[in-house]
């Protein structure tokens, strides 16, 4: 989608799933079930995407060029040749960063209202 590249702020807020996938890929290229697993782990098992739903999200992110298919040469050694790997793009990283900043800006208010414990408390 043309134009998105210039101002990531226009895309906000992101859907939680889009954001989750971007966060996973920001850490490094991954493949279908790898992403499912990573999201499940980060959500303590509460979000476990079905394959069809995952690819819905991936398709959308690909369409917006926030992620791209990964080049085999940049894959980690353990990568399986049969699987398709995805990596975050610069635009994707910028959008994720914008979303993170947005959430960060909201956090102090939430803490002040005692909606979440302050930093440091478990």
């Amino acid at each position: 989608m043309a134009g998105n590249e210039h101002d990531p702020g226009k895309e906000l807020p992101l859907s939680p799933l889009d954001f989750s996938v971007l966060l996973v890929l920001a850490e490094g290229a991954s493949y279908g079930y790898g992403i499912v697993k990573a999201i499940a782990e980060r959500s303590a098992g509460s979000v476990r995407l079905a394959p069809g739903n995952l690819y819905q999200v991936l398709d959308r992110l690909l369409e917006r060029a926030w992620i791209r298919e990964s080049d085999p040469s940049e894959l980690p050694d353990a990568a399986d040749g049969r699987r398709r790997y995805y990596a975050i793009t610069e635009v994707g990283r910028a959008v994720a960063a914008a979303e993170a900043r947005r959430l960060q800006a909201m956090l102090p208010t939430a803490i002040r209202l005692d909606l979440v414990p302050a930093k440091g408390t478990p």
Binding site: S15, N53, L54, Y55, Q56, V57, R83, R84
Partner: protein
């Protein structure tokens, strides 16, 4: 890891593909392969090996994911509005299931209450059909398509020869082939071999026990990739000549026989003629290569045999990294062709074949055979379709009678889809109940099969990978069947009725609409009645006989009698060579040991009596005899040339062991077994049926003493010196067979004898133990196969017979019900279609009887046609099976069955007929 590792299999993949159809087409079009790959990964990681609970949770998530996508689409997909719209329309057109609610289910349950007869008939019919389909799927799936529960189990393959002219024989490969292929094959690693021997396991102080021992090459353990819990597995060094004999034992044996002794390594056990040192214990449940819990080295001395000779072995290995089954086959074929040219005498007709590991054990030699099993499976699923179609007709008839209600709902704004959805929900309630019942029936059936197989005296131990339980696959299969049945019995009639609704209700109630139940249906109903009539006599006969056999009491103290088959099996030892001479030597040794065993048993205070024979009471080969003074074709039996009797060659004490008294004449004495002796004993059935009473002094002879291919030649005349009662418990079907007893000589070599021992007052298990000790002390290779009390063996037979009787009764009942259903549905149609006519005729003062006769006429005609066709078919089957197969009594069953069928048919016609008479003229006319 490869995709083959823990693949979810085609059924699950298909199921998920179907779910994906509810997702936007874009995902399918662009990412299907990746989605499926992720699905496989997810299944392997979250479900594989974790049982039904994990499977259900997994599918719950898959379905929930689909639903979530549908509901919360807006949130997730910002760009997907256009897809969503298109997709919603599509799915609605497809199913309309979207608005499935609790209300529909509740309505469905209410329908059950309202039409209990319909519900009962449908549920019985469908649950039996589902049980049959599920039982078959479970059993066959467990046997032909099992996943080997080992690491990367589906990469373990069998390698063997197939004889081009006789593809059935799976054991044609021997030592030479192993050595040649092991050195040459690149696509298969760790090529290993094993053979199985049954041997006496003798542990000091525990008597003797028969166990199956795997003689396996060391590579076999590498293929299995399972480490021992104690000590080591077999090594290549153990296979060398002169290596000390060692054994690796299973965890269960270690626990049961050695109390889990941590110092078990170094202990010795005797396996047949050799003493082995325990060097390792394998983990629990490890029973590779087939069902084994003892492993000893396989000594294959290539120099001891000609090419193509030597003991047959099973060969197996693991596909090398990256190699496929096809590549392995190609490589093997090249080697095979070279061998066929190099050694035409032995290898010309042999083609090496590589297949999934389990195939040779199940005699699955080709894909055609697998296809045959699958076709049969389809046919059984079709049985459910036929049942469901029957129920559909019934539901159609009922739905047609609810036309008014449906029309009102339509008028109030219910769409066609809504109405069909509700009918589908009602049908699903019916089919789900049937599925649960059917599944339970199948589970019980499979458990019974497993129990009968595992019980002492049962056939043989199942391979470790066969699991007769309800696997998730079976449950899913049944769920699929239930949905299919629901579609047939809910949606089909629904479409038809609502289609009619749109065209106007008049058509449904107008004259001649009974044509809607077209020729196909009418034909089907006639066919069903015919089949029911045709199978009923046989079913009643089989079930009846099964019950008779099951309730037969043995005429001897079976609880006190221990029975075993005496055998000597060839052993392949470190330097042993198995050949025909060795086997002949064993036969001579067997009778010699049997005679000595009898002497020692008679001397033991725990044992009252002992004897050997060639068969147990009631069993034995059937032979043709001639009676002196009668022309060869005997007039007393149906056989064309002489009379068939059951023969048993026995030792003098045989009757005394079974506590059977000779009723006339005498029992055998030692001298009768000497060569040249010509005496025989018969039972009462023989005396009465064949000799017409007095038997003593009469002479008979075996009509055919020649072996196969020789000219038949009668044996010497034998004088009957004694008559005994018929005392066998399980004689099989029908009236008891006449029995002829011949004297047994313990000097003539035999491969097999039946030992019967009557315990003195001591407890029977203690006597059994004592028996194995005496036999093992006499000769460690003397085997007591199937040692059990006669009562236990009989009990198992009886249980099996009851199982058969129950199965036959269930199937018969459902067939009967189906026919009744068909007739009922047909009658309902006739009545529904002729409401107006009947109403007018009644209004015009027509006689009720004549109206009724008119309604019954068509039903009776079809009933009659069906019954007639069935009787002809039954008579033909009876003739084809030789007539005598089922005894003469079965002819008496024919008219009874016809009567039952006609009664059932007329009874099912009664309800609709009554409705016909209740038609009020005004009501019928108002329908216009």
């Amino acid at each position: 890891m490869s995709a083959a590792n823990g693949s979810p299999g085609p059924v699950r993949e298909l199921a998920y593909r179907l779910l994906l159809r509810l997702h936007p087409p874009r995902v399918r079009e662009r990412h299907l392969a990746d989605v499926m790959e992720t699905f496989r990964d997810a299944w392997a990681a979250e479900v594989r090996g974790r049982g039904l609970g994990a499977e259900l949770a997994f599918w719950g998530r898959m379905v929930a994911g689909t639903v979530r996508w549908r509901r919360g689409g807006e949130q997730v997909a910002r760009n997907g509005a256009e897809h969503r719209g298109r997709w919603r329309m599509k799915t609605k057109a497809l199913f309309g299931v979207a608005k499935f609610s609790w209300l529909d289910v509740k309505l469905g349950l209410r329908m059950l209450r309202k039409y209990p007869a319909l519900a009962l008939v449908s549920v019985i019919g469908m649950s039996v059909a589902i049980a049959i389909a599920a039982g078959y799927y479970g059993a066959i799936g467990a046997m032909i398509d099992p996943s080997l529960p080992l690491d990367d189990g589906d990469r373990i393959v069998s390698v063997r020869y197939v004889d081009l002219t006789d593809p059935g024989d799976a054991m044609l490969q021997s030592a030479h082939d192993l050595v040649a292929w092991r050195d040459e094959l690149r696509s298969i690693r760790d090529l290993a071999a094993f053979r199985s021997e049954t041997r006496n396991l003798i542990v000091e102080g525990q008597g003797a026990d028969l166990v199956d021992v795997a003689q396996m090459t060391a590579a076999g353990f590498r293929v299995a990739r399972v480490a021992p819990v104690l000590g080591r597995t077999l090594l290549e060094e153990d296979e060398r000549e002169g290596a000390p004999p060692v054994v690796v034992i299973g965890y269960e044996e270690w626990q049961d026989r050695f109390d889990g002794d941590p110092a078990i390594l170094g202990h010795t056990v005797r396996l047949g003629s050799t003493v082995h040192t325990v060097v390792g214990v394998m983990p629990a449940d490890f029973r590779f290569p087939r069902h084994h819990r003892f492993w000893i080295p396989l000594h294959l001395d290539v120099n001891a045999y000609e090419r193509g000779d030597g003991p047959a072995i099973y060969m197996f290995g693991r596909l090398a990294e990256g190699a496929s089954l096809e590549q392995a086959q190609a490589e093997l074929s090249t080697i095979g062709q070279r061998n066929a040219q190099a050694y035409p005498r032995t290898h010309e007709r042999l083609r090496p074949r590589v297949s999934p590991y389990t195939h040779p054990f199940m005699n699955i030699d080709s894909l055609t055979q697998v296809a045959f099993f699958r076709t049969l499976q389809m046919a059984l699923a079709l049985l459910l379709v036929v049942v469901a179609l029957n129920v559909a007709v019934l539901v159609y008839a009922r739905t047609a009678s609810r036309a008014g209600e449906i029309a009102v709902r339509g008028a109030l704004g219910a769409s066609r889809k809504r109405v069909i959805t509700q009918l589908f929900a009602e049908a699903l309630v019916l089919s789900s109940i049937s599925a649960i019942l059917g599944l339970s029936l199948a589970a019980v059936g499979l458990r019974v099969v497993e129990y009968l197989n595992d019980a002492p005296g049962g056939d043989y131990e199942m391979p470790f990978w066969v699991d007769f339980g309800l696997t998730p696959g079976v449950v899913m299969y049944v769920a699929g069947l239930a949905i299919l049945a629901g579609l047939i019995i809910g949606v089909l009639p629904g479409l038809k009725v609502t289609g009619r609704l749109q065209a106007g209700l008049q058509q449904l109630t107008s004259r001649g609409s009974d044509k809607q139940l077209g020729r196909t249906w009418t034909g089907l109903i006639v066919l069903q009645v015919g089949i029911a009539v045709a199978i009923l006599p046989f079913a009643v006969y089989v079930a009846g006989q099964a019950v008779v056999v099951a309730s037969a009491e043995s005429q001897y103290p079976a609880e006190q009698i221990l029975r075993a088959n005496l055998r000597m099996r060839p052993e392949l030892g470190p330097s042993g060579v198995v050949n025909d001479e060795a086997v002949d030597g064993l036969d001579a040794r067997l009778v010699d040991r049997a005679a000595e065993l009898l002497r020692r048993l008679e001397a033991d205070p725990a044992i009252a009596r002992a004897s050997v024979a060639t068969s147990s009471p009631g069993q034995g080969p059937s032979r043709r005899i001639e009676v002196e003074g009668r022309s060869a074709p005997s007039e007393t039996a149906s056989a064309q040339n002489g009379t068939d009797v059951t023969t048993n060659t026995i030792e003098p004490d045989f009757f005394a062991v079974h506590d059977v008294r000779v009723v006339a004449g005498r029992a055998f004495v030692e001298a009768d077994a000497l060569e040249g002796s010509t005496v025989a004993i018969v039972d009462r059935v023989f005396a009465e049926q064949i000799l017409g009473g007095a038997a003593l002094g009469r002479r008979i002879r075996l009509a055919d003493t020649a072996g196969p291919g020789e000219e038949p030649e009668p044996g010497p005349w034998l004088e009957i010196v004694g008559v005994v009662p018929d005392f066998s418990a399980n004689d099989g079907w029908g009236p008891p067979d006449p029995k002829l007893y011949l004297p047994l000589s313990l000097t003539e070599p035999r491969g097999y004898l039946t030992l019967a021992v009557r315990a003195a007052d001591a407890s029977v298990p203690a006597v059994a133990r004592r028996l194995t000790e005496i036999a093992a002390a006499l000769d460690p290779s003397l085997q007591l196969d199937g040692l059990n009390t006669a009562a236990d063996v009989d009990r198992l037979d009886r249980q099996f017979m009851l199982f058969v009787a129950f199965g036959v009764a269930a199937v018969t009942l459902s067939v009967l019900l189906l026919s009744a259903t068909g007739i009922y549905a047909m009658m309902s149609f006739i009545v529904a279609g002729r409401r107006r006519e009947i109403g007018i005729r009644t209004a015009l003062g027509a006689d009720r009887g004549r109206v009724l006769a008119g309604v019954f006429a068509r039903a009776s005609a079809q009933l009659g046609a069906g019954v007639l066709a069935g009787l002809v078919l039954a008579a033909a089957v009876n003739e084809a099976t030789g007539g005598s197969q089922f005894g003469d009594d079965i002819l008496l069953l024919f008219p009874v069955v016809a009567l039952v069928m006609i009664s059932v048919g007329l009874l099912s016609a009664l309800g609709p007929a009554r409705r016909a008479l209740d038609v009020q003229p005004t009501e019928a006319l108002r329908g216009e």
